[in-house]
């Protein structure tokens, strides 16, 4: 049994490494398509971490929605959109701005890391521990029914709005 535990632990590090590598690829890539592939790699690692956090359903949804839908939308945006040569760095970023950005990020990283490590987290007194999809569905349709419906309406509005905006852009380009 302890053998399986070690395999799970190794897989955890593999998924964490996927997130780190994918993130670095996405941020540092010169071509936008490489950045999208880095994002997809990172999202797959996230799905693995969701497995470790006990939610298989969320892991599957992560692969389905993020890797399957969002990445494909972004890839389409790259392919349909501007110039054939997709440089991620069309304009050179000023050295001073870059330095400012890097120092801000490092300061945030250090500050928040110290906060996370120093904080004491207190678990809830009574934990139900029911990670099943049945329990999730019941909550979604009883307690969070309004939010669920609002999300559906928002998705519909977003899709219709996206179609209208893209259509306006095409008409203006045609004139």
């Amino acid at each position: 049994m302890i053998f399986y535990r070690y395999i799970a632990e190794t897989l955890f590090f593999v998924f964490a490494a996927l997130i780190f590598c994918g993130g670095l690829i996405a941020v540092r890539a010169r071509l936008l398509m490489n950045a999208v592939l880095g994002l997809a790699l990172s999202l797959l690692g996230m799905a693995g971490l969701f497995f470790h956090l006990g939610s298989q359903f969320l892991a599957l949804m992560q692969v389905l929605i993020y890797v399957g839908a969002v990445c494909i939308i972004i890839a389409f945006g790259i392919m349909v959109g501007p110039r054939p040569k997709q440089e991620a760095e069309g304009r050179v970023v000023g050295r001073r701005n870059m330095l400012l950005a890097v120092s801000t990020c490092i300061a945030g990283l250090v500050l928040l890391t110290v906060t996370i490590v120093e904080a004491t987290w207190v678990p809830a007194a009574v934990k139900s521990g029911d990670f099943s999809v049945k329990h999730l569905g019941e909550n979604l349709l009883y307690q969070f029914c309004l939010a669920f419906e609002l999300i559906s309406v928002m998705l519909l509005t977003a899709i219709v709005g996206a179609l209208i905006i893209a259509n306006i852009g095409r008409e203006e380009a045609g004139q």
Binding site: E9, G23, S42, Y66, F76, G108, L112, I116, M154
Partner: protein, 105 residues
């Protein structure tokens, strides 16, 4: 204790995603690059919810449902942003954020 059973590990990973998203937002000079970076920030938030859900929350359904909502919002946001980018491209012939400044003055 194994690292995968520790809340701090997950929080550090989600912090890394947040910082990476902010850094990418500054570094990328195209709208699509910025969209990709914003996905990282969304994912950091989602991982945070899931980690607190697993280790601290009384009812493990709540964090999962919030993560699902985040995914839905991210999908809607990506669709709207891509159509906006197409429109900006038709109008300005460029996707450089520095050249889109009609509302600036």
């Amino acid at each position: 204790m194994m690292p995968s059973d520790c809340l701090t590990t997950y929080l550090i990973i989600s912090l890394f995603l947040l910082i990476l998203g902010i850094y990418g937002m500054v570094r990328h000079r195209t709208f699509i690059g910025m969209l990709i970076s914003s996905e990282f920030i969304f994912n950091g938030a989602s991982l945070n919810f899931m980690a607190f859900n697993r280790f601290l929350a009384p009812d493990p359904a709540v964090g999962q449902i919030f993560s699902l909502f985040i995914m839905g919002i991210a999908a809607a946001e990506a669709a709207v942003v891509v159509s906006l980018i197409l429109m900006v491209h038709h109008k300005y012939r460029s996707i450089d954020p520095a050249e889109v400044h009609d509302l600036k003055h």
